[in-house]
Amino acid sequence: MSGSSSLLSWILWMPMIGVLGVLLIPKAKENAIRFWALINTAMTMILSAVLYMKFDNTIPGMQSALEIKKSWISQFNIHYHLAVDGISLPMILLTSLLLFICILASWTVKKQIKGYFALLLFLQSTVYGVFMAMDFFLFYVYWEVMLIPMFFLIGIWGGENREYAAVKFFLYTFFGSILMLVGMVALYFVTGQGEDSFNILAMSGGKFKDLTVDLFGYALPFAKVFFIALFIGFAIKVPVFPFHTWLPHAHVQAPTAISVILAGVLLKMGTYGFLRIAYPIFPSASVYFSDAIAWLGLINVIYGAFCAMAQTDVKKLVAYSSVSHMGFVMLGLAAMTVQGMNGAVLQMFNHGTSTAMMFLLIGILYERSHHRWIVRPDGTKGFGGLYTQLPVFSIVFIIAMFASMGLPGLSGFISEALIFLGIYERFTTITVIAVLGLLLGAAYLLWMFKRMFFGEVIEENKSYTDMNAREVFYMVPLCVAVILFGIWPSPLLDMMKASVGKLVSLLAMY
């Protein structure tokens, strides 16, 4: 079963080597720590590139050549089981790219650098773990452990209200995890605690369709009950309305790099959970609940957009826009058609790049302004005339903004168009309402842009300097990704289409 290549293990543990290195470097040598972290993420990125090259696009499902399966806790049949398919590979590549950029974006962090970079690399490893684990227990462990670095990164390096945000983030996600745990344990027992009782791949395929479970004296369908448990667990991460309120807090308080990882990667873990666990294991229940998922996705799209329009804090505005854009992913997932699902996975990647750009740019601006008010609470302008003051910054901002609102030619458009194509047939009414999300998306972003960038330069903005070489350097790969995948999406789609198609075919049977 286990393949010959240990590449996945290398990618998974490379950041942990980085953590060890950071811990060994003396505290005073700050630059050494930074460069070590940078080199480490660069190494991981190279390994990911190797993974991409070894990846065979034509195979639907797991790539057996790259699979690793070793016994971990043999008493409970828990395995150290890593594998990769077309759904997780884009996420792994995205993580590698974003973490490299995040290290560069964190160059100006002043406080306790050693701890910061160690936690950041630790976080990277756990994210890989989530995207690679094919053993439910291993998945769960990584899912939970990821909270620890995240908690400290927000709670120590965050803004004024960081402790509240960190605790809220932790508790909220933990609540979801408990439900996931219940689902996991239930699956463990229902599959007879055997060899494959934690094996996500082995449990896939709708084996639990006709089972029932006795709960509070009622015989309930097993698949539906535990689909709901898993759904809530993942939905909190996405976040799906009504579990979305931790997100604005966490984003606003988190430091720039953490916002980038949060929006760029961690939110996708939720939708990845659907694609990897909830859908394949409970296909019948997924189809049964797809109406509800679609409506929730629609609420996300519209509600998130409306809330975003009212924000006066630019970071909060972008945070709500993430709620809205992740709603499109949920819509695509609910569609369960080939266009919709591919669109959803593509949107996961594209939102990762475009929203990362937005958060990075806001971080760059924040380093100069030390505030994020579009309009201050007293009604005065926080920014004005930035276009005149920061020409290069403005151009990059325009690219990020238009990519985020789905302008054709930039990456967001193709995924959104595919999602609409996918959902139309089953959910015509929802499609008609959801296109308004595109309209609102353009409205809040352009309105924000107008208030911040047009007009005369206001007095306090006159001291701002344009992007420096380091900042330009780390924005370039994202700009290229956003434009390239807008014109030529095939590299991404070719990667995912076989695996996604397989999942769609599975769902189509129910």
């Binding site: 009212a310 009414t429 499609t431 289409k497 999942l503």
Partner: protein, 724 residues
């Protein structure tokens, strides 16, 4: 001529590469900017050469109503895991495309050349060539749109043009006002665009493609009108037709989404000429011509005609009272676009398209001329102009040519196209009385058009200077090639003979005969006959062309519309009436303007004072801006957003989510009280002997070891599940 990648693709790619290179080059300033500007002009001139070759092949070579080239390639596909889905792109060139390509490239070239003169002093070619960077992208997108073989790629280029328009309106970004104007332009058109996308999605889902030829075939097969395919209670044709036509309403500034175009004049004048007059807004009409069979199948033509009629008349009335030079032209653009849409509605397919072309040429010329006036006198208010003909003779003549064309004076291009639209409207009205509404709107608008255009000319160029100081400071017109050649070139093509004549080899230009037998435009541009597409064969990209075997001339314009002799005679008679009526109307409009502003026998001031209320309504454009911005957005949308955001954070998050913390605390309090009262006081203290026992147990449990707690939690959960 053989159509290969290298004979089609450069049309789009040359300006696109110019954009990519200039995006980096132009900013450097100095010589680099000059090189960038040169590159932009050379690129568009280069693509016009390719466009001329195609035009030459279609009009002078093959000369058939049915001739087309259609090549496709796969953009991306989602085939895998047992699923299939392919997205094809391609180029579709028929006569309409060939004419559009020529018009867009040539007009764009002229405007590029003019811009080198106009933008030269505007901070080094439009702030270091920024202007030219976006102009290149814009032209490339417009040409891509014209070449598209399907609605999806048309939509992509359509949106890209929206983006370029956004950037060019915002050219003077240090002004607060431009920020408002470009957001307004983008958002208003976006309203139409999202519905356009919805229409595309609806069609794609039903027939598996959105290529024009597939749509036409599906219409011929009755898929669009089949009740099984109804969407939300209406036929697919009606649903998708309305959705896509909303795209036209947005892009072509039709009522009720007409509000953005006047504000778009905040951009530099040459970009107004190219984007907001000649090409981008015309793309909306082009789209509605391409989807004409859908509109027809969905019984939407009357709706389209009424929208066009309202726009044509409404914008004309607003233009009557404008005092800003460019504002008059902006509203006249809206009004003329209204005529094109009216033409689409009344089924006057080739006249609507001809009006698109003729309007593009004379409106580009008008804007360029207006630009040179503004450049000379440094103001835009007509009440402060007057007598300018003495200082700028050349501009004056060019502008009169265009004014006569737009007013619909015989022998000028506007007459040829507009008269046919109105004539066809009249024919429809004689068949069915409800068509009188758009017809009368159209004729009334024609009268006003002649009036306000001449008013503008008289106010600006004739009479005596009203602001002597501004007049004295106005530059004498100097002849410079990059200003005069575009003006001269475009004015020459305001003559009607280019469009009403023959270009087919019987002589370069020959007047059409009475029954229109030789008119190349009528012969080549005809309504797509959907039946023709049932057995249509596509050509893969890179294959040799499947050529029409018939030779020149393979198709003649069916002057009888396929009607019986009697009916055709009726149409003919009505057309004559229509032509006579529009000539009378045009001249009476001009005459009224003459009486008011030259002769002075009718005093405009009296009219303004007597109808002040109406005057102010017109000046404010029927308060539509007020309604949308102050009413809908400021009173409706923003308070609603604030309410929702406050609910989200202030109510839902605070009580619905954080409230759980309070509940938990309360439960903890109860537990503590229970613990104190029963466990501690009654049991523990009550039984001295039990103290030690409990101490031991509690000490073990409350070890502070986190692993132990987790084990407990897991055990409890396991036990729970096991109990199930």
């Amino acid at each position: 001529m053989n159509y290969t990648v290298s004979s089609i693709a450069p049309i789009v790619l040359l300006p696109f590469f110019a954009f990519v290179i200039n995006a980096f080059l132009a900013r450097k300033g100095g010589k680099a900017t000059v090189a960038a500007v040169f590159l932009a002009c050379a690129a568009i001139a280069g693509s016009s050469i390719y466009a001329i070759r195609i035009f030459n092949d279609f009009v002078f070579g093959n000369y058939s109503a049915d001739y087309n080239i259609h090549k496709i390639f796969t953009w991306f596909d989602l085939n895998g895991g047992g699923q299939t889905f392919t997205v094809n792109m391609g180029v579709y060139i028929d006569n309409m495309t060939a004419v559009m390509l020529l018009m867009v490239t040539v007009v764009a070239t002229m405007i590029h050349i003019f811009s080198t003169w106009y933008m030269h002093h505007d901070m080094n070619y439009g702030r270091n060539g920024r202007f030219f960077v976006y102009m290149s992208l814009f032209t490339s997108a417009m040409l891509g749109l014209v070449l598209s073989d399907n609605l999806f790629s048309l939509f992509i280029f359509w949106e890209l043009m929206g983006f370029c328009s956004y950037s060019l309106i915002g050219h003077y970004y240090e002004k607060e006002k431009t920020g408002d104007a470009n957001v307004k332009a983008f958002m208003t058109t976006r309203i139409g665009d999202v519905f356009f996308l919805l229409g595309i999605v609806a069609i794609w889902n039903q027939i598996g493609s959105v290529a024009y030829v597939d749509i036409y075939r599906a219409i011929a097969e009755g898929i669009f009108t089949n009740v099984d395919n109804n969407v939300m209670g209406v036929s697919l044709a009606a649903f998708s037709g309305v959705c896509i036509f909303l795209g036209t309403i947005g892009k072509s500034a039709q009522f009720p989404l007409n509000v953005w175009l006047p504000d778009a004049m905040n951009g530099p004048t040459p970009c107004s000429a190219l984007i907001h007059a000649a090409t981008m807004v015309a793309a909306g009409v082009y789209l509605s011509l391409r989807i004409y069979p859908i509109l027809e199948a969905g019984h939407l033509t009357y709706f389209v005609a009424v929208i066009g009629g309202i726009t044509a008349l409404g914008a004309a009335t607003i233009a009557l009272v404008q005092t800003d030079f460019k504002a008059v032209l902006a509203f006249s653009t809206i009004s003329q676009l209204g005529y094109m849409v009216l033409g689409v509605g009344v089924g006057s397919y080739n006249a609507a398209f001809m009006h698109l072309i003729t309007h593009a040429i004379f409106k580009a010329c008008l804007f360029l001329a207006a630009g040179s006036v503004i450049h000379g006198i440094h103001l835009q208010e007509m009440p402060r102009m007057g007598g300018l003909k003495n200082k700028m003779k050349f501009t004056w003549i060019a502008m009169w040519c265009c004014t006569l064309a737009i007013a619909g004076v015989p022998f000028f291009s506007g007459f040829v196209s507009k008269d046919r639209i109105l004539g066809d409207a009249l024919v429809m009205a004689t068949y069915n009385a409800k068509w009188w509404i758009p017809t009368i709107l159209g004729f009334a608008g024609a009268f006003l058009t002649a009036f306000y255009m001449c008013r503008m000319m008289f106010l600006a160029f004739h009479g005596t200077p009203r602001d002597q100081e501004a007049y004295d400071h106005c530059h004498e017109e100097k002849l410079s090639w990059n200003r005069n050649i575009p003006l001269l070139f475009l004015s020459v093509f305001t003559l009607g003979v280019w469009f009403a004549g023959s270009l087919t080899g019987q002589g370069f230009v020959k007047l059409g005969s009475k029954d229109g037998k030789y008119e190349w435009f009528k012969t080549l541009i005809q309504k797509p006959k959907v039946e023709k597409f049932v057995d249509y064969q596509r050509q893969p990209w890179g294959s040799t062309d499947i050529k029409s075997t018939q030779t020149f001339p393979t198709a003649k314009y069916d002057n009888t519309y396929g009607l019986s002799e009697e009916a055709a005679h009726h149409v003919h008679v009505v057309h004559y009436w229509g032509a006579g009526l529009s000539v009378i109307i045009a001249f009476s409009g001009i005459f009224l303007a003459f009486l008011m502003y030259i002769k002075g026998s009718v005093n405009p001031g009296w009219w303004v004072n007597s109808f002040n209320k109406y005057y102010r309504t017109l000046q404010n454009g029927y308060f539509m801006d007020h309604l949308y911005i102050k009413g809908f957005i400021q009173k409706g949308l923003l308070p609603f957003n604030n309410l929702l955001a406050r609910f989200d954070m202030g109510v839902y998050d605070r009580y619905g989510v954080d409230g759980w913390a309070g509940v938990t605390k309360y439960i903890m309090g109860v537990a503590k009280w229970f613990d104190n009262l029963f466990v501690d006081q009654i049991m523990v203290d009550g039984t001295g002997a039990s103290v030690k026992v409990f101490n031991v147990i509690l000490r073990t449990i409350q070890s502070g070891k986190i692993q132990f707690y987790i084990i407990i939690i897991v055990l409890v959960l396991l036990g729970y599940v096991l109990a199930l």
